[in-house]
């Protein structure tokens, strides 16, 4: 499949190369290991494979079939049909990384618009072309902070309110960096320990970064201005991991003086897709732009004086700096960044705020109702945004099982 040559063409090409069988091209492969017998099924027609995939898909229960109350970093939102129509254009999805700007302005300008939208949403001065997901964006914030302090500060304070998967990912990324350790000073046992104020006393002269999440993992919204002030007084940077839908209503982290704002961009027009591909967004103050990893698009002009865009500040990146690069990342979530740009453009200010407002109302409505049922207690404090934690009278997994029997994903 997908190989176009006729036999006659193949023979002509073999003759041009001066061999009579394709096998001759592989003589450098040690003979006893050449052409292993792959124990895999033979190929099938496109139609048969489609039926097979439909069968596999059918063995799943989708969030379209029954109500889903799951959150924790992946959210179902309404996605306008125009989003998929645009990202299904093969001009976008079959294009390569825009290293040749003369023939890649579509990708480059849409990333530039994405960067602008993210910068405006987070209240920051610059954003990059994206990271893999919210988790790796957090890890890259940690790496940025350690580089920023040139190895002189080794500690990263991570709030217990940060998504546990993101905390785990930060640990994996940061533990082997020379002379550093990522610290997670609070264990997620008592929900009362999550407040930003409880982090303040842990900040010291060795702290390079304080990492918090807004709204936090339990959906709670906090005033973290005192934390930012305390961190800056000790010379530490502050990174905020934010939900982009919540940011439509919330004071921007930029206006709260955050240095770095990262987050999971999946709510911006991406389906749940069993966890990926999603979109890590990453925004910074101007002074940190050159320390930010990942692709960045900048505006310029071409030889004919036309406005255009290019990948810029590439001297930070692995293909130029190799072992001294800011990160080994060489891709970005191109198509997901486009998805987010299209979604945010369609929704505009009013639509983004309406989505956030409805999420807020529906969560609070559900919380009010649940709190009236005997034995249930809402443990997230108010205000919370679009998710909240409930203490159940019986183990939570049993509640979930019973909900599933009632046709609800709890």
């Amino acid at each position: 499949m997908y190989i176009p040559h006729s036999e006659a063409e193949r023979d002509e090409m073999l003759a041009a190369i001066g061999i009579d069988k394709i096998d001759a091209l592989f003589e450098a492969v040690p003979e006893k290991f050449r052409f292993p017998n792959l124990r895999l099924d033979p190929g099938r027609s496109e139609y048969e494979v489609e039926l097979e995939l439909k069968d596999i898909a059918k063995a799943n229960l989708t969030v379209d079939e029954i109500p889903c109350f799951l959150g924790a970093g992946a959210y179902k939102h309404i996605i306008p049909a125009a989003v998929d129509a645009i990202i299904s254009r093969s001009e976008f999805y079959t294009a390569y990384t825009p290293y040749q700007p003369e023939i890649s302005q579509g990708t480059l300008q849409s990333i530039f618009e994405f960067q602008t939208l993210i910068a405006r949403l987070t209240g920051m001065e610059a954003a990059n072309a994206s990271h893999y997901d919210g988790a790796t964006a957090c890890a890259e914030a940690g790496i940025l902070a350690l580089h920023h302090h040139r190895g002189k500060r080794s500690k990263i304070l991570v709030s217990a309110g940060l998504n546990p998967m993101y905390r785990s990912t930060m640990r994996t990324y940061l533990q082997d960096l020379d002379g550093t350790k990522a610290e997670s000073p609070q264990v997620m046992k008592k929900i009362s320990e999550v407040s930003p104020d409880s982090l303040i006393e842990a900040i010291d002269e060795d702290t390079s970064l304080v990492m918090i999440q807004v709204p936090d993992f339990f959906g709670q919204i906090w005033d973290y201005s005192a934390l930012v002030k305390a961190a800056h007084e000790k010379g530490a940077l502050v990174a905020v991991c934010a939900n982009p839908i919540a940011l439509a209503l919330l004071k921007s982290p930029g206006s709260m003086d955050a240095d770095i704002v990262v987050g999971e961009g999946q709510p911006l027009g991406m389906p749940l897709s069993f966890g990926g591909p999603y979109l890590g967004f990453f925004a910074v103050r101007k002074e940190l732009v050159r320390k930010m990893s990942g692709r960045i698009v900048g505006e310029t002009v071409d030889a004919r004086g036309q406005r255009g865009y290019v990948l810029t500040l590439t001297a930070r990146e692995q293909h130029i700096r190799r072992e001294k690069a800011t990160s080994n990342i060489c891709s970005n979530q191109g198509l997901n960044a486009l998805t987010a740009a299209v979604y945010m453009s369609l929704m505009g200010k009013k639509g983004m705020q309406e989505v956030a407002q409805q999420c807020y109302e529906k969560a609070h409505y559900a919380a009010r109702k649940i709190s009236k049922i005997r034995g249930y207690k809402i443990v997230s404090h108010t205000p919370f945004f679009h998710e909240f934690a409930v203490r159940c009278p019986i183990p939570a997994f049993e509640v979930d099982e019973m909900l599933l029997n009632h046709g609800i994903l709890g």
Binding site: D55, A59, L61, A82, E102, E264, P277, H319, G348
Partner: protein, 484 residues
């Protein structure tokens, strides 16, 4: 002359215009607290058609695989089958929350399980994790696994990672992220790893070596068995950068050649679209020695099926795992695309991919070496590297040839990589290009070689036929403007 710039989405905005519809809320009555509320959000206001037209016009400014040849060495820009787009969009895959109970996602887990098996079988390894988000993250996982194994064995003095001088930039960057000191290994005159140089660097400080096979010159390393044996003998482990696996499908098992762990780029080898720079996917496969360190979650069969009941699948993380490297289970809908492609191809189709990738590359190489210098002149596998150094056109650089190719309607080859060839053009046609396309490309290359001598300004001012000319990259970096 016409200005081809498209206004930005912000330029097109008009206050009060609206591009969305939402159902009315039926649970009003909760006001967002004003002390936390933001004042303004400077987002554009547009109609749905405004947005669709803007991005459609932008899309027309892109080169892409569906338009024409993309001979980018090491990037494997092959045709992306349409069926994979269709299956990846099935509701049964896109409408799944990653935290649903496992009994509600048995189809998704089966797909992950089966793809883990298929990718292991293609590499000859015993285990696989599909978690890594991209090739670079797959590399990161593989090198972390090597580091974790040495740490487990209390071999803390193993601080050095060897990297052939032809390697991708991600290899040294990855090693540095894992706390290793990088040391280059030379390439010999036939384009193989220089065994003498390698021998001098194999000692008890050696953690391992990162090898791309075929290497970035497109050559199968003739010393591979000796090189991997030398590294193993001194206690190091061998990492396989799978960027060029398109050349080895059904041709050789990396496990047989002395590798311990490797990554695939599913967006190269298994034809998931590049998406203008991502999302990719970077599965890691390894042998039994390194299996306990794989990044989780990995899918396993918990209960075998019976004649009435299908098997039951679940997720786990290996005992000494390097830890999480991202949230959830990998780029799932990218995995669906790769799985679709692999099911269509099957064992027989896979070997044909590698064979025809090699046929196309060698056909182009034989034709082009008549007009272009070929620094390593032996049978290549899936790609080859030219060196733009003509005595009678000394001022012409690889960049000029690359840019001029755009005027002929082609995406340029990879240039200035690998670093060991100074004016390199690295050409990978892939198996999905037909002979006519290759012949036309050869003609264009020959005509450019001719112009290099007789009309060099045609190259230096190129491209002139594209909607945009060469960009002022210095200005972009100096007058940094990253937002509208």
């Amino acid at each position: 002359m016409r200005n081809n710039s498209e206004p930005t989405i912000f330029d097109l905005s008009s206050v009060g215009r609206n591009g969305y519809q939402l159902p009315e809320s039926d649970v009003r009555g909760s006001e967002f607290p004003t002390e936390f509320a933001r004042e303004d959000l400077a987002f554009p206001e547009l109609s749905e058609q405004d947005v669709v037209r803007h991005y459609s016009r932008l899309s027309a400014l892109n080169y892409h695989v569906d338009k024409g040849l993309y001979p980018l060495g090491s990037c494997t820009m092959k045709y992306n089958p349409k069926i994979s787009e269709k299956t990846a969009r099935l509701d049964g895959f896109t409408q799944l929350h990653p935290l649903q109970p496992t009994e509600t996602v048995q189809g998704a887990l089966f797909l992950i399980y089966d793809l883990q098996h298929i990718l292991s079988e293609i590499s000859g390894f015993t285990a696989c994790s599909l978690v890594p988000a991209a090739g670079a993250q797959g590399e990161f996982c593989g090198v972390k696994m090597i580091a974790a194994h040495h740490a487990y064995k209390k071999q803390h003095q193993r601080k050095v990672m060897l990297i052939p001088d032809s390697a991708h930039g991600t290899n040294p960057a990855t090693s540095a992220m894992c706390g290793y000191e990088c040391m280059p290994v030379k390439t010999d005159s036939r384009g193989n790893i220089d065994l003498e140089d390698l021998a001098s660097k194999c000692n008890k400080e050696l953690a391992g070596i990162m090898i791309t096979l075929p290497n970035t010159l497109g050559l199968f390393d003739e010393n591979i068995l000796k090189a991997t044996a030398m590294v193993h003998k001194s206690g190091g482990l061998v990492y396989g950068d799978g960027a060029n696996m398109n050349a080895l499908l059904g041709i050789a098992w990396l496990s047989d050649l002395g590798f311990d762990v490797m990554h695939y780029n599913l967006h190269k080898t298994f034809s998931t679209p590049h998406g203008g720079g991502g999302p990719g996917a970077g599965a890691v496969c390894c042998n039994r020695l390194l299996e306990p360190y794989l990044p989780g979650p990995i899918c396993e069969m918990i209960e075998e099926g019976t004649k009435d009941e299908p098997p039951f699948y679940g997720l786990y993380s290996p005992e000494r795992t390097i830890g999480m490297v991202k949230a959830f289970y990998g780029h799932f809908t990218v995995l669906v695309r790769a799985y679709t492609y692999l099911r269509v191809l099957g064992a027989n189709g896979l070997r044909r991919v590698a064979e025809y990738a090699a046929l196309n590359a060698n056909y182009l190489m034989q034709a082009l070496k008549k007009t272009y210098p070929l620094p390593y002149d032996r049978t290549c596998i899936h790609e080859f590297v030219l060196d733009i150094k003509w005595e009678d056109a000394p001022d012409i650089r690889a960049l000029d040839v690359a840019k001029r190719l755009m005027d002929f309607g082609y995406h340029p080859p990879t240039n200035y990589f690998p670093l060991i060839v100074h004016e390199s053009l690295m050409i990978e046609p892939t198996e999905t290009e037909n002979k006519r396309t290759l012949d036309e490309f050869i003609e264009a290359m020959n005509s450019i070689a001719e112009d290099a001598r007789h009309a060099p300004e045609m190259l230096r001012k190129a491209p002139s036929e594209t909607p945009f000319g060469r960009m002022d990259e210095v200005k972009a970096a100096r007058d940094l403007k990253l937002t509208a």
